[in-house]
C-alpha cells in the first residue's frame, strides 16, 4: 500500500489516490504519481473553486474564447481581437522577490503569445506589507525590479497597475500580472494536439531541475519549513523568451503548426496532457530527446520541471523542416520529441522503457471537484461595527496625511522603472485612471485597468466584490472607454477553512451581479488560494482586470484639470459613508465599518454619462472618486494636469465634514468642463437620471473646499503635490 508520507509530499489525499488507482486501473508509479499531483493540485485543477467560478457570466456577442484556454479572446472589430489574462506569482515572489516576479511576467506573456497574439501591454497589481518594515521594503524593491527587468527587456510596455499596502501582506505579498495581446481574428491558435501522427516539438530553453513542484507549492500553506521549498524558484531569461516570442509568432503567422501550449506551471506534464485532452487524442513522447540542462535527470524530474521559457508545438508533418528553420533563425532548437496518437493516453518513454501510460482525461478532467464547507466568519460582526472617532481639528492637515498615504501617493517610483512606452502605443501614461493604447491604423483605442479594494472585501466580501468590478469600469469610463471583457485573479487564504470559502463565495456573488449588470463577460482568470503564512490569511483580494474600448482616440482626456475657469462638476452624489475608508486607516488606524454601499444601476448610469460626455467632447477632465474620497480626488485633479491648477469647491451637503471630504461613497466622478459645454453636459446627465451638479471652479493656486460657506480645507496645490510626490520615495529610502 502507498506510503502516507509520499502522498503528503505530493499534496494528495488518500481518497484522491484511490481515485487515481481506479482511473489508471493500477497503482501509479512515482512519475505518474507526480503527474497527478501536479495536475490535481489546486493551482492546476481549480478543484475547490470550479463550482463557484461557474456562476460568473462568460457569454457575450463579442466573446471569441471564454474560460478554458490559456487566455480569453474578445473581438474588437476591424478583423482584430484582444487576448488577455491575469496570473498570480505570489509565493515565488515572497521567497525570491526579483526572480519570482520576473518569472511571473514571463509566464503570463507566454499565455498570450501561445494564442498567436503579440503582447502589447502588461499591468501589475502589487500588495505588500507596510513600508516601515525593512523586509517589506526589500520585497517591494525586488518585485518591482523583477517585473521591470523582464518586461523591459522583452519589449512589452508595463502601462499600469496598482500598489496597495496592508499588514496582512507582510508575509504574503501579492504579485498579479495582467497581459493583453493583439491578434488578427483568423490567426488565433489553440492548445490542440490534432492529427494522429503529427510530430510534437519541444522549443525553447533546456530543462533543468528548477521549480519542481512549483504548482503544488502554490497549493499549500506556507509555514516555517518554507526554507526547504526554496530551490523551487526559477531564474528567468527574458532574452530567451523574446526569441521564443518572435519565433513562435513567425511559425504561427505562416500557419505551419496545428497547436501550441506553453510550459508554465506543471511544465511538460501540463502541456502533454492538456493538448491531447482538448482534442480527444493522445500523445507519446520520448524523454531521451528532451533537451536537458543538467545531467542524470530522472523521468520524474523531467516531467515535473518548471524550467521557464519553453513551449510545446504540434506541427504538420510536412512543415517540420520549415518550423525548425525558423527557430534556427532565432537561435533556438525545435526538437521532435514524439507524436500525436490515437489512443487517448499520455505515454512517456525513457531509456527504452515506458515510464508513464495514463489516460489524459483522468489527468486533466477527472480530478475531484470539491464543494468545501463554508461558514460566515466570526470577525465580521466586530469589524463592521464602527464608532466614529471624534472629528479631527485640522482637516487640511488630515488631507496632507491621507494624500501621502502610500496607497494614495504617487507611484512614479514604481512605474518609472517600467518601460511604459515601448511599442509606441501608449496614449495615456501610467498615473491616469486607466491605461490607454492606440491601435495603429485605427481611430479606436484600448483602455485597461486593474482594481480591487481588499479592505472592502474583508469588511463585506459581497459588496467588495461588486465594488471591485464597478470601480474598474468607472476607471475605464473616466477615459471614455466602455468595458468589453473581464479577467480576474482571486487571491484568498486556505480554502480548507470554511471562513475563507465563505469569503470566496460572497466575493464571487458580488462580482457576478456586477458583471451581469454591466453586461461584461468574464473570459478567464486565475485563483490563488493558500495565501496564508503561519496560519494568518490575507484579506480576500480579488483583482479585476477589465478591458475597454474607446471610439475615437482623438477625444481622449486625462484626470487633471486643464483650464482655469472651467466648471467642476460632480456626477453622482456625496453620502455620509466613512466605513472602510483610507482616511480611517491612515488617520485613525482603523480598518473598520461597512464599506460604502453600491447601487449598480446608478453606477452604470453615471458611467454612461461620463462615456457619452467624453465621446461628444463635452468634458476636459474626468477622475473617479475612490480611495481618499472627494478631497483626494479634487487634489489629484489639481495635480495631474500638465500644469498645477487649483480649484474652489462649494459644498452644501449636511454630512460630517470628514465624511464629506474623505468618505468613499461610490458612483461618483469629478469632471471639469468649459462654460460653453456645461449646459449640454447637465442635460445629458438629467436625461439619464444621474445627479450632476456644478460644485466649483478650477483656477488659482490653492485647493479650497467649503462646506456651507465655511472653509474646511485651504491648501496650496504645490504643497499637496509635494506631499503626494515624495511620500513613496521617502518611505522607501529610509534605512
Amino acid at each position: 500500500m502507498i506510503d502516507p508520507k509520499l502522498l503528503a509530499d505530493h499534496n494528495l489525499t488518500l481518497e484522491e489516490y484511490k481515485r487515481i488507482v481506479s482511473l489508471v486501473g493500477r497503482e501509479p508509479n512515482i512519475t505518474e504519481l507526480g503527474i497527478f499531483s501536479l495536475m490535481w493540485s489546486e493551482h492546476c485543477s481549480y478543484k475547490s473553486s470550479r463550482a463557484f467560478l461557474k456562476k460568473l457570466p462568460t457569454k457575450g456577442k463579442h466573446v471569441i474564447q471564454g474560460p478554458g484556454e490559456n487566455a480569453g479572446i474578445i473581438d474588437i472589430g476591424g478583423g482584430l481581437a484582444v487576448v488577455f489574462k491575469i496570473e498570480s506569482h505570489n509565493h515565488p515572489s515572497f521567497i525570491e522577490p526579483f526572480q519570482g516576479a520576473a518569472t511571473g511576467v514571463g509566464g503570463i506573456l507566454r499565455d498570450i503569445f501561445t494564442m498567436g497574439a503579440r503582447p502589447i501591454a502588461l499591468l501589475d497589481s502589487l500588495r505588500f506589507g507596510p513600508l516601515d518594515n525593512p523586509r517589506n521594503r526589500a520585497i517591494m524593491d525586488g518585485v518591482v525590479a523583477g517585473i521591470s527587468s523582464y518586461g523591459n527587456s522583452i519589449g512589452v510596455p508595463t502601462v499600469g497597475g496598482e500598489v496597495y499596502f496592508d499588514d496582512c501582506y507582510s508575509k504574503n505579498p501579492l504579485v498579479n500580472v495582467f497581459c493583453l495581446g493583439l491578434v488578427e481574428k483568423d490567426k488565433i491558435f489553440y492548445a490542440k494536439a490534432e492529427g494522429v501522427g503529427n510530430p510534437v516539438l519541444y522549443v525553447g530553453s533546456k530543462t533543468g531541475r528548477d521549480g519542481i513542484h512549483g504548482a503544488t507549492m502554490a497549493s499549500a500553506e506556507f509555514g516555517k519549513e518554507t526554507e526547504q521549498k526554496r530551490p523551487n524558484v526559477q531564474v528567468g531569461d527574458p532574452f530567451k523568451e523574446k526569441l521564443l516570442l518572435e519565433a513562435c509568432l513567425e511559425v504561427m503567422d505562416k500557419g505551419l503548426i496545428v497547436g501550441i501550449q506553453d510550459m508554465g506551471a506543471a511544465g511538460l506534464t501540463c502541456s502533454t496532457a492538456e493538448m491531447p485532452a482538448k482534442s480527444g487524442t493522445g500523445i507519446s513522447i520520448n524523454l531521451d530527446l528532451v533537451p536537458q540542462r543538467e545531467e542524470g535527470m530522472t523521468p520524474y524530474e523531467i516531467m515535473l520541471s518548471e524550467s521557464q521559457e519553453r513551449m510545446l508545438l504540434v506541427a504538420k508533418k510536412e512543415n517540420v523542416t520549415e518550423v525548425q528553420k525558423i527557430f534556427a533563425k532565432w537561435d533556438l532548437d525545435a526538437v521532435d520529441i514524439g507524436e500525436v496518437t490515437a489512443g487517448r493516453n499520455l505515454r512517456v518513454s525513457f531509456c527504452g522503457e515506458t515510464v508513464v501510460d495514463v489516460p489524459v482525461d483522468a489527468v486533466v478532467n477527472l480530478c475531484p471537484v470539491y464543494r468545501r464547507p463554508s461558514r460566515k466568519p466570526a470577525y465580521l460582526q466586530a469589524v463592521q461595527k464602527l464608532d466614529l472617532p471624534p472629528l479631527a481639528g485640522d482637516l487640511g492637515a488630515a488631507l496632507l496625511k491621507v494624500i501621502a498615504s502610500p496607497i494614495i501617493a504617487d507611484k512614479e517610483w514604481v512605474f518609472r522603472q517600467y518601460d511604459h512606452m515601448v511599442q509606441t502605443n501608449t496614449a495615456l501614461l501610467p498615473g491616469a485612471d486607466a491605461a490607454v493604447l492606440r491601435v495603429k491604423g485605427q481611430k479606436r483605442a484600448l483602455a485597461m485597468t486593474l482594481d480591487g479594494n481588499a479592505l472592502y472585501c474583508y469588511l463585506d466580501p459581497r459588496t467588495g466584490g461588486a465594488i471591485a468590478v464597478a470601480e474598474a469600469c468607472r476607471n475605464l469610463a473616466c477615459v471614455g472607454a466602455r468595458p468589453i471583457g473581464v479577467t480576474n485573479c482571486l487571491n484568498f487564504g486556505n480554502p480548507e477553512k470554511p471562513e475563507i470559502m465563505w469569503q470566496f463565495k460572497k466575493v464571487i456573488e458580488g462580482m457576478t451581479e456586477a458583471c451581469r449588470i454591466f453586461e461584461i463577460p468574464v473570459t478567464g482568470g486565475n485563483v490563488s488560494f493558500y495565501n496564508d503564512t503561519e496560519g494568518l490569511s490575507i484579506h480576500p483580494t480579488p483583482v479585476l482586470g477589465i478591458v475597454g474600448l474607446i471610439g475615437d482616440v482623438d477625444r481622449l482626456i486625462g484626470p487633471g484639470f486643464k483650464e482655469e475657469g472651467d466648471a467642476v462638476v460632480l456626477l453622482g452624489e456625496n453620502r455620509d459613508e466613512l466605513g472602510g475608508s483610507e482616511y480611517l486607516r491612515a488617520i485613525h488606524g482603523l480598518e473598520k465599518g461597512r464599506p460604502p454601499g453600491i447601487d449598480l444601476e446608478r453606477e452604470k448610469a453615471v458611467q454612461e454619462v461620463c462615456i457619452q460626455a467624453i465621446a461628444s467632447g463635452l468634458v476636459r477632465s474626468a477622475h473617479d472618486i475612490s480611495e481618499g474620497g472627494l478631497a483626494v480626488c479634487a487634489a489629484e485633479s489639481c495635480i495631474l494636469g500638465r500644469t498645477e491648477i487649483g480649484c474652489v469647491l462649494d459644498l452644501e451637503d449636511k454630512a460630517r465634514p470628514d465624511a464629506l471630504l474623505f468618505g468613499e461613497a461610490q458612483s461618483r466622478i469629478l469632471i471639469s468642463a468649459s462654460g460653453t459645454h456645461l449646459s449640454k453636459l447637465l442635460d445629458l446627465a438629467a436625461e439619464k437620471g444621474v445627479p450632476a451638479k456644478v460644485i466649483g471652479r478650477a483656477g488659482g493656486k490653492e485647493l479650497v473646499i467649503r462646506q456651507s460657506g465655511r472653509d474646511v480645507v485651504r491648501l496650496p496645490v504645490h504643497r499637496l503635490f509635494l506631499a503626494w510626490k515624495n511620500a513613496l520615495p521617502e518611505a522607501l529610502s529610509v534605512r
Binding site: N152, S153, I154, F239, K242, Q417, Y418, T424, K440
Partner: protein, 227 residues
C-alpha cells in the same frame, strides 16, 4: 532616402523606429538582419533600442560582433549615416565608432520618463532642422545611460562640438537633477568627428506623434531626410 533598421536578437524598438520612418516620414525603409552581410543599399543605418543579447554581459557588448556590424563599420568609414538610439548608442560605443562607455544610471534603477534635451550642435546632418539651444522633450528608457569617458576625451568632445544633446531642465539649464542618469557633462547624444555617426540615449521614435505626447523627436529624422 532609404533607411535600414537593424534587428539584433533582443532588439525591441525596431518596429517602432521602422513605423515612424515608413508611416510617419514616408521614407523607404527596410529591416537589416544581424546575421547578414548586406546593407541593401541603404543611405542611413539605424541601430534601434532594446536589449541586444539581453544586455547580459554589458549593453551592446555582444551585438558589436554581429556580421552585419562589420559592414556597418565600413559603411561608417565611407561616410554613411549611422544613427544609434539607446541600445544602438551602446553598440556604437562598444564598437568604438564613438568614444566612451556606459555605466549604470546613478540611482541604479531603470528609468523611463520624459527628459529635456538641449541641442548644442544644430549643424549636423541629424540636427539641421533644430536651432542651437532648442529644448526637445523626448523620453528615455534605459538602465545603462550614465555616459563615461576620461577627462581628456571629454575635453576633446567639447572642443570639436561633438556633444549634440545634453540633459537640461525645462528652461535649458544643465542641472544635476535634470541629468537623471548621471552622465558626464550631461551628455545625452554624441557625434563622431566626421559628423556621420550619432548616438543618443533618448528615443526620438517615441516622440514623433502628437498622440503620444511629443513630436520633438521627429526633427531628428526630418533632418536626415531633408535634401
Amino acid at each position: 532616402m532609404k533607411f535600414g533598421v537593424v534587428i539584433f536578437p533582443g532588439s525591441n524598438c525596431d518596429y517602432d523606429t521602422f513605423f515612424v520612418l515608413k508611416n510617419g516620414l514616408r521614407q523607404e525603409t527596410v529591416f537589416l538582419w544581424h546575421k547578414d552581410h548586406d546593407l541593401r543599399g541603404v543611405d542611413c543605418v539605424v541601430l534601434p533600442g532594446g536589449f541586444s543579447y539581453g544586455d547580459y554581459l554589458r549593453s551592446g557588448a555582444i551585438a558589436r560582433f554581429s556580421p552585419l556590424m562589420q559592414e556597418v563599420r565600413e559603411f561608417a568609414d565611407r561616410g554613411g549615416s549611422v544613427l544609434g538610439i539607446c541600445n544602438g548608442f551602446q553598440v556604437l560605443l562598444e564598437l568604438g565608432l564613438l568614444p566612451g562607455a556606459m555605466l549604470r544610471n546613478k540611482n541604479l534603477k531603470f528609468l523611463c520618463q520624459y527628459v529635456h534635451l538641449r541641442v548644442d550642435n544644430p549643424e549636423t546632418r541629424f540636427t539641421r532642422r533644430t536651432r542651437r539651444g532648442q529644448i526637445l522633450r523626448i523620453p528615455i528608457a534605459h538602465f545603462d545611460g550614465h555616459y563615461f569617458s576620461p577627462p581628456e576625451t571629454l575635453r576633446d568632445l567639447e572642443e570639436h562640438g561633438q556633444v549634440v544633446f545634453r540633459y537640461v531642465d525645462e528652461k535649458g539649464k544643465p542641472t544635476e537633477a535634470a541629468n537623471v542618469n548621471g552622465s558626464a557633462a550631461g551628455i545625452a547624444g554624441l557625434i563622431n568627428r566626421r559628423g556621420n555617426v550619432l548616438g543618443m540615449m533618448p528615443h526620438p521614435e517615441r516622440a514623433s506623434e502628437a498622440l503620444l505626447g511629443s513630436e520633438d523627436g521627429r526633427l531628428i529624422f526630418e533632418s536626415l531626410v531633408q535634401p
